[in-house]
């Protein structure tokens, strides 16, 4: 699994490029939370496969750069303990541990999780009150907050131009930046066989299809498919979160169903839900359905039910 970590390096690099030292600090804090918890509960042996590092990195990439570090640490610890270890460790969990950590943070600290920095004065400046003490409210002057492309669209009806969406020079979480780099990392993993390409393909297809249909009906009210694909956490979620092997279906057909469900939920939550973004909840909901999907998408065993399939 260290190759997954390696493929994340460019994404991490991009987040540091866009968000400065804050990005690095948040990622270190979330990884530390996940790794220390795994080390403390499961012992050093459990660390060797690198899955704790992946959980920490992925959680960090879903967080805003200005989040207080203690929250990032707590999220990593919660995701590792309750998303993975209570189920019995690697291979046993139902939900993606990184997303469970983020869901916990979103429920506990909604303001900190939705405070996005406006453009910083220099690369070196922090993008928020990273060093706030635990359980103290972080100090965020209003002038410092910005908005994400999805937030802009939902609450203010503003679009974002395609170029900055593709390159990633927009507001948002650490990993909501450069969709192209994420796609490259995903392509590398798919070629190496570490990722089932059917899941992202299915998510992209269903999001594009649904968003495209709605856009055709009313272009004013509903954003186009390209905006939907490249805004928010969709790229990171589709390529790195939904494809977590442990929490996704085992058969090819199951992966198509799983991805289609995520895509549909993303469009529904983004357009009609109360939140601007819905990738996290979509994936967690579909995670819960995986055992059921596995059962109903079992392939036909060779040499059985020949009567119906022979024709």
């Amino acid at each position: 699994m260290w190759s997954v970590v390696a493929s994340l390096a460019p994404v991490v690099g991009a987040s540091i490029w866009f968000f400065g030292p804050s990005a690095l600090l948040v990622l270190i804090a979330s990884c530390a939370g996940a790794i220390c918890t795994e080390r403390g509960i499961a012992g050093t042996r459990a660390l060797r496969d690198g899955s704790g590092t992946i959980t920490g990195l992925l959680l960090g990439l879903t967080l805003p750069p200005g989040i207080p570090l203690w929250m990032a640490f707590l999220g990593g610890a919660f995701g590792m303990a309750f998303g993975k270890l209570v189920f019995g460790g690697l291979g046993q969990n139902v939900f993606n541990p990184a997303l469970l950590g983020r869901a916990f943070l979103q429920a506990a600290f909604p303001v900190a999780l939705t405070t996005w920095p406006a453009s910083a004065s220099s690369w070196w400046s922090l993008r928020g009150d990273n060093f706030a003490l635990p359980l103290m409210s972080p100090q965020v002057p209003d002038a410092l907050t910005g908005a994400t492309p999805l937030g802009l669209f939902k609450f203010e009806g503003q679009g974002t131009d395609l170029g900055s969406l593709l390159v990633g020079s927009t507001g948002g979480s650490l990993g909501e930046t450069c969709g192209l780099i994420i796609l490259l990392g995903g392509a590398y993993l798919a070629l190496r066989g570490h990722l089932n390409w059917r899941i992202p393909a299915s998510i992209f297809a269903s999001v594009a299809l649904l968003a495209g249909l709605l856009h055709l009906i009313d272009a004013e009210q509903y954003p186009g498919p390209v905006f939907m694909l490249f805004s928010g956490g969709l790229m990171l979620g589709a390529v790195y979160m939904a494809t977590d092997m442990v929490t996704s279906p085992v058969s090819g057909l199951g992966c198509w169903v799983f991805g289609a469900g995520i895509g549909a939920l993303v469009v529904i939550i983004r357009i009609w839900g109360g939140l601007p973004e819905g990738v996290m909840y979509s994936i967690l909901l579909m995670n819960a359905l995986v055992p059921f999907i596995n059962r109903v998408t079992q392939p036909r065993v060779f040499g059985t039910n020949l009567g119906s399939s022979a024709s």
Partner: protein
């Protein structure tokens, strides 16, 4: 390029055949002692008809077929019976075996015997002659050939499939047989077609053996409907059900046999051996074995008297290298690892693969991460991931309900597993346990 015939799923292990694929078959010298197991084949072990102290000549019957699904065993060298005792068997057990001390300075010439002229024999007489020669399937399972050739009345066989895939990595004995003796292969096909009373045969060969395809095409008979088909290189292309799927295009029903779709499958080595029997009159007493892998000094395709001890075969190939790790009878995918150099070859032994440290895949087992690679590999479309979890919990009955008995233990799932979980070994254990409990159930 026209896409080649094949089946769905399967894996692509590196074939490692270059070490021996162009080395002509040579004969090894006779060892000092041979060990003949009475259980050389699938079915009931043969019944002994000699006793310690007897002198036997090469080709004499030493044990007779005991019942219909059984096969006689012949002395593979001239010598004296030393003892009947328990001896390690390649399947990992210990079972009854004859020790024959090979006569020194013997010319090893078999007794002169009548060579049956098969054209004048009826199908029944021909099948009896095949039984008396101790012929069994030489692809590995060693199922008695005469049983396969005698399907029940209600099963009509219309096509003979010849398996020249040799899809197991490393092995090249069948390849050499096709290249060196294509006319013998065609002769064997002719005899088999006569025994079955049909005229259609199809030879399937993986496309990594173009010289074999060419040799067999050049020797095709004019009066029979025999065709050669190159197949895609994919493991397990040579499994009966996969070969039928590729060549005929239909699936053998779950729990059924090739005869249920009107097909009989024989592998190349068996077909060549049938020709040998009717050309020389000699029964099945020796066969070609690929001795290969990075752990043996001089890899070879060797004609080995059946019952030769592993240590003698290895000595004939220059011995072991220093970094030898594992010795497997059969191919690396389905073969059995051996624990004792005194284990003898049996009729089903067509390959001895000696893996060096770099070649052996004995990784540490990690937890299953449900990646689904085993599902994409399984040619039977089972769910090895789920079956593996059930096997670890010893829930055999649930495994049976999920079609475990259709598993042919090809090893694709174990090969594909990134966590090195020994899936197919677990399934072998489960199948054995289920078989044992069903025998007990019947007895009660």
């Amino acid at each position: 390029m026209r896409s080649l015939l094949s089946f769905r799923h399967g894996v692509h292990p590196p074939d490692h055949k270059q070490a021996t694929e162009h080395i002509p078959v040579r004969r090894m010298s006779f060892p000092d002692e041979v060990i003949l197991h009475l259980r050389q084949h699938t079915g009931k072990p043969a019944r002994l008809c000699v006793k310690p102290g007897d002198r036997v000549e090469r080709g004499d019957v030493v044990a007779q077929a005991d019942g219909f699904v059984s096969s006689p065993v012949h002395a593979t060298t001239t010598g004296t019976i030393v003892a009947l005792e328990l001896w390690p068997h390649p399947d990992g057990s210990r079972s009854q075996a004859l020790r024959i001390a090979v006569e020194r300075h013997s010319a090893q010439v078999p007794r002169p015997r009548l060579v049956p002229e098969w054209r004048t024999l009826s199908a029944k007489e021909l099948i009896a002659a095949i039984r008396d020669a101790g012929l069994v399937g030489l692809g590995g399972a060693a199922f008695p050939t005469h049983v396969k050739l005698s399907p029940p009345e209600d099963k009509k066989i219309d096509t003979l499939l010849i398996n020249g895939c040799e899809c197991e990595p490393y092995l090249t004995a069948d390849h050499r047989a096709m290249v060196e003796h294509p006319e013998k292969v065609q002769h064997g096909i002719r005899i088999l077609l006569h025994a079955l009373g049909i005229e259609r045969a199809m030879i399937g060969i993986e496309s990594n053996k173009p010289d074999a395809v060419e040799a067999l095409r050049a020797t095709l008979p004019d009066d029979l409907d025999v065709t050669v088909h190159p197949l895609r290189v994919k493991y397990p292309q040579g499994a009966e059900k996969m070969l039928i799927r590729a060549l005929i295009g239909c699936e053998v029903p779950s729990g059924g046999l090739p005869m249920d779709v009107g097909v009989l499958v024989q592998n190349i080595a068996s077909v060549e051996m049938i020709a040998t029997v009717f050309e020389s009159g000699l029964p099945l007493i020796e066969r070609t074995v690929s001795v290969t892998g990075g752990g043996v000094r001089r890899p070879a395709n060797l004609t080995v008297p059946i019952g030769t001890k592993l240590r003698d075969v290895l000595d004939a190939c220059g011995g072991l290298t220093e970094d030898v790790e594992e010795i497997v009878f059969g191919g690396p995918m389905m073969g059995m690892a051996q624990a004792d150099l005194n284990v003898p070859t049996v009729k089903g032994t067509g390959g001895i693969v000696v893996l060096s440290k770099g070649e052996s895949r004995q990784g540490e087992t990690h937890p299953c991460i449900r990646c689904g690679h085993c599902l994409d590999a399984c040619p039977i479309f089972l769910n090895p991931q789920n079956l593996g979890a059930l096997a670890l919990a010893r829930r055999w009955d649930e495994m049976e309900a999920q079609n475990l008995m259709d598993c042919m233990l090809c090893g694709c799932c174990s090969y594909a597993c990134p966590s090195s979980i020994p899936l197919s070994q677990l399934f072998a254990l489960a199948k054995t346990s289920l078989r044992k409990s069903s025998i007990k159930g019947k007895a009660a």
